[in-house]
């Protein structure tokens, strides 16, 4: 699904963030990208989303070299990226409207997709994420958890096969965060969605990632990967994993 070969990237003339970086992720895997701030984890996500482009090397998603955002990749950011001037309903419909706007041209929308009944599909996602009552509210009027659910619904309404998330739950209270984490884990388990979650929280990485990619101080040259078996948080396996991740992060702090 994701294949990075010798990827090099830096902002402007500053220090390189990735140098000859290789990394592979298979379809259906659940990944977490872990690292302290400034390590380049969000940069990696933007590269995967096709919003930034490597200076050197090849970045393939779904088998193709990425030149622009890929229609089947969903991206969810920490500040939700909802349009403040559109209601929850309009926000969830946004991706579908953009597809209608261009038609199935293969660039902005998958070539093989029949644009669905927008209203029906939006209603479906509104009720599935418990947003029916907030449908006509503006993002400024609803809670952080509702905003994040709206952002997830907007992305899932486009039927992605790869879901990229940048610190998606960082600003939520604990119960909301746990509910949404479970929801995302189920997307991976039940729908076979490939998920990549960027986080600075070791616990979240251990919970959401079956595999964890640990980034250190830039430039990152090799992918340090930790694998984990599904384990409940609080179990001794999970504790061991968290301890291992903590030790990997420490030298770079």
């Amino acid at each position: 699904m994701i294949d990075l070969q010798g990827v090099t990237f830096g902002y402007g003339r500053g220090k390189r963030i990735f140098e000859g970086f290789n990394w592979k992720a298979e379809r259906g895997e659940a990944w977490a990208i872990l690292g302290s701030s400034g390590c380049g984890k969000s940069t990696l996500l933007y590269l995967l989303a096709g919003l930034l482009h490597p200076e050197e090397g090849a970045l393939r998603v779904g088998g193709e070299i990425l030149e622009r955002p890929r229609p089947r990749t969903g991206l969810i950011l920490q500040d939700y990226g909802l349009l403040p001037w559109a209601t929850v309903r309009e926000n969830i419909a946004l991706g579908l409207r953009v597809r209608q706007f261009y038609g199935p041209d293969g660039r902005h929308a998958p070539r093989d997709e029949v644009i669905p009944q927008v209203d029906e599909r939006v209603n479906e996602w509104l009720s599935q994420l418990g947003l029916a009552e907030a449908a006509e509210s503006f993002p400024g009027q609803i809670s952080g958890g509702q905003r994040q659910r709206a952002a997830i619904a907007r992305t899932l309404a486009l039927d992605p096969d790869l879901l990229l998330m940048d610190e998606p739950f960082a600003s939520l209270d604990a119960p909301t965060r746990e509910a949404l984490q479970r929801f995302v884990m189920n997307l991976n388990v039940e729908r076979g969605l490939t998920t990549v979650v960027v986080t600075h929280s070791i616990e979240e990485a251990a919970l959401l990632g079956r595999r964890v990619l640990v980034l250190g101080n830039p430039p990152n040259r090799e992918a340090r990967i930790v694998q984990s078996a599904p384990a409940a948080l609080g179990s001794s396996e999970a504790q061991a994993l968290i301890e291992q991740l903590r030790q990997m992060l420490e030298p770079s702090i």
């Binding site: 950011l77 920490q78 500040d79 939700y80 349009l83 001037w85 991706g95 953009v98 261009y102 486009l158």
Partner: protein
């Protein structure tokens, strides 16, 4: 604002006028009733023609200003390199009272509607430009990333992000500058024209000494400004409802 309190304010102003007219008791301040009578009589005829000539000048200037200033403001707000080049120029040009350019513009463009429209345009253009630029600069890159990840290219970004994001700034700029625009309209209509409310007011007041008609012209000009202000306000509420909702 409640409709009732607006009506009450109108009533207070009308009573104040009548009282003042009684106290002054001279032809230069006729009673409101007389002015209203003159307004009703004149508006379907001569005054209405002048009103339309004036309204056309302001509306045309507004439309041209929006068409040119909104995209320019968006570009400046989004491309900081561009803004670095133009920002000092705008900084110097913005505070210049454009109305002093009336003779210059007339020399270049002639004594026609165009020169008058251009003067008002110069004022509105900078107001809209600056407000839209500052608004566009607040569009966060994360929001653009999110929408681009949904498949939006340049056209869809304009349709779904840039346009709705700058609409409130355009309407706010319009509302704020309507007063100035109408004031400048009066000044430009004093010069080299025989159509327009400015000309009408000046002619009735200073040449024909028909004060009720002069005040009818003043009333027409005030109503024009007020009508435009209300229109901008209503459009703002209709088109930007998210700015008028209660926060949780």
């Amino acid at each position: 604002m409640k409709r009732r309190s607006l009506l009450l304010a109108v009533l207070v102003l009308a009573v104040g006028w009548e009282l003042l007219a009684l106290v002054v008791n001279r032809p230069i301040l006729p009673s409101l009733a007389l002015v209203l009578k003159e307004f009703v009589l004149e508006f379907p005829g001569e005054l209405g023609g002048h009103f339309l000539a004036s309204a056309w000048r302001v509306v045309a200037s507004m439309l041209i200003s929006i068409a040119l200033a909104a995209p320019a403001g968006l570009a400046l707000g989004q491309y900081s390199a561009l803004n670095r080049i133009f920002s000092p120029v705008i900084y110097l040009l913005y505070p210049i009272p454009k109305v002093v350019l009336v003779p210059v513009v007339i020399l270049f463009l002639g004594i026609n509607d165009l020169s008058k429209i251009v003067i008002i345009f110069l004022i509105l253009f900078f107001q809209i430009l600056v407000l839209v630029r500052d608004q566009a600069a607040t569009i966060r890159p994360e929001l653009l990333y999110s929408v681009r990840s949904l498949g939006a290219g340049r056209r869809a970004l304009f349709r779904y992000v840039y346009w709705p994001a700058s609409l409130p700034a355009v309407l706010t700029a319009l509302r704020q500058s309507i007063g100035t625009a109408v004031a400048v309209l009066y000044v430009v209509e004093l010069v080299a024209t025989q159509r327009g409310l400015g000309y009408y007011i000046y002619l009735q007041g200073s040449t024909l000494f028909d004060y009720p008609k002069m005040y009818a012209g003043v009333l027409a000009m005030s109503l024009m400004g007020l009508g435009m202000y209300f229109t901008a306000d209503i459009l703002h509420r209709k088109l930007c409802p998210w700015q008028f909702t209660q926060q949780p």
